[in-house]
């Protein structure tokens, strides 16, 4: 009897797991959109408070601003950062950091000219009152990988037209990382 009672949820869980491990993506129930549709939407509805969020960068303490990116020359940092960006940031900042109505563009001058330390500080602390969560739950090296990727978006070799996920990991260190 006990076996039967346990089996029903376990069977369902097994089915659940098989989909999860295989990385299967279930059909989206609500408003599924292609990436081009998403980009169109992002361009149509721009985030309203860009200036207020950019102003937060200036609030980084001097000590934080002066921090050097320990992964600036790490050849895999851009590719790893691109993956992280796609997982955690693209929802609000757009697939290539172009911005959306939920978050400001990361391609603009205030971000691209900011010190890596300032970006790291902003990632760590978020802008909670303006909707950006704190990202200190990502370990420090991952936050630096994100900073490296964000800075790479503004360089001459910036993948501005390519989705973040399309950056080949093998090209990791090849994408130019612009420094302020």
């Amino acid at each position: 009897m006990r076996t039967r009672e346990v089996l029903a949820p376990l069977a369902a869980f097994a089915a659940f797991l098989s989909g999860a491990v295989a990385g299967s993506t279930l059909p989206a129930t609500f408003g599924a959109a292609t990436s081009s549709q998403k980009n169109e939407k992002a361009l149509k509805y721009k985030y309203q408070d860009d200036a207020l969020v950019y102003a937060e960068l200036a609030k980084a303490p001097e000590k934080a601003r002066a921090k050097r990116n320990p992964l600036a020359s790490d050849r895999d940092a851009v590719a790893a950062g691109a993956n992280l960006f796609d997982q955690h940031c693209a929802e609000c900042h757009g697939e290539v950091g172009e911005g959306s109505r939920k978050g400001p563009s990361l391609l603009k001058e205030p971000v691209q000219s900011a010190a890596p330390g300032s970006l790291f500080w902003l990632l760590t602390n978020g802008v909670v009152r303006r909707g950006m969560p704190v990202w200190s739950k990502l370990p420090e090296p991952q936050r630096w990988q994100l900073v490296t990727y964000i800075k790479s978006l503004g360089g001459p070799a910036a993948p501005a037209a390519a989705p973040a996920a399309q950056i080949s990991p093998s090209s990791g260190g090849q994408t130019k990382i612009s420094q302020p």
């Binding site: 029903a8 949820p9 999860a20 279930l26 129930t29 408003g31 909670v128 739950k137 991952q142």
Partner: protein, 295 residues
């Protein structure tokens, strides 16, 4: 409740999660009882299913389960709705109640210790066995009676927690203190939960992978009761120590497993917990579009 109905209830808890799923990613901590200070990202909905198998001396072992819907209302406010149920072996399966939980982040920036305020309303029966927290003089013997007896007791409780959490060199440390007031003239009860965890690797890999070390977060949590207003302390309380592991898959799923061990004679000998969750990004916008129509 008949056996087939009990199976249907268990399956429904799973299927509800499956049906609503959409593409999403997650980076979840491994805790099942303790809380850190990270809230749900604004507009995201996380659907979670958890299961607890518990041993019972002087009664039948049980399998308790709950479904959790966690929504990031803002970057400083997360709200959650729980549905609880349990199967006691050789007895019956019951829906045991619901909980509505809210967490608020009072500070704008990160600090060495980060506080979060937690308020929860619980409307559950005495047969609730999910052990989402241990408080007051909760002991194993409380659950030994058959479900037909336990379900007669109802609890309308307000639960308050102060969640403190620190992150240092990849480690996360949490300290939760609990104060619960049963709204029917019973004394305040107290409890605690502690936890520590760390990803197995701090740097992300350049390629997406399911089995990369950074996808696994391991740790330990400890929780228990601290008595009530009239008899505060460790007397007649139960305590548990539980290793925890979370596996964050690139596909957006998170799996958690935690074997828990009772630390004194008042505690259940063994609890095996596991859970699966999935985050739906942009859920808030999707819902608002449903009502507003597409612009």
């Amino acid at each position: 409740m008949s056996r087939s109905a009990s199976r249907v209830l268990s399956l429904l808890f799973f299927l509800a999660g499956l049906l609503i799923s959409a593409t999403t990613r997650a980076q979840e901590n491994p805790y099942i009882v303790a809380y850190d200070h990270y809230l749900e990202e604004p507009g995201n909905l996380e659907i979670e299913y958890f299961s607890t198998f518990g041993t019972q001396r002087g009664g039948n072992d049980h399998h308790a389960f709950w479904m959790e819907f966690e929504y990031g209302a803002t970057a400083w406010w997360t709200t959650e709705f729980y549905l609880d149920g349990q199967t006691t072996f050789n007895d019956s399966t019951l829906f045991t109640g619901f909980r509505w939980e809210n967490r608020f982040r009072p500070l704008k920036r990160e600090h060495f210790i980060n506080p979060v305020l937690y308020v929860e309303y619980e409307n559950i029966s005495g047969a609730d066995k999910i052990l989402k927290e241990v408080e007051g003089h909760d002991v194993e013997a409380d659950s030994a009676d058959p479900n037909s007896v336990l379900r007669r007791e109802h609890a309308h409780e307000l639960e308050f927690k102060l969640l403190l959490s620190s992150t240092f060199k990849g480690w996360n440390f949490v300290e939760n203190t609990i104060a619960t007031k049963n709204l029917s003239n019973e004394p305040w009860e107290f409890g605690y939960a502690l936890g520590a965890s760390r990803p197995l690797a701090l740097k992300a890999s350049a390629q997406r992978c399911s089995f990369c070390r950074e996808n696994f977060i391991a740790g330990v949590e400890m929780y228990g009761g601290l008595g009530d207003r009239y008899s505060f302390g460790l007397h007649e309380t139960s305590h548990y120590l539980a290793p925890v592991v979370a596996w964050n898959l690139p596909s957006g799923w998170t799996l958690r497993v935690s074997p828990g061990f009772g630390l004194n004679d008042n505690s259940s000998r063994f609890l095996l917990r596991w859970g699966v969750s999935r985050e739906i990004t942009g859920f808030g916008s999707m819902v608002s579009q449903l009502f507003r129509g597409h612009r």
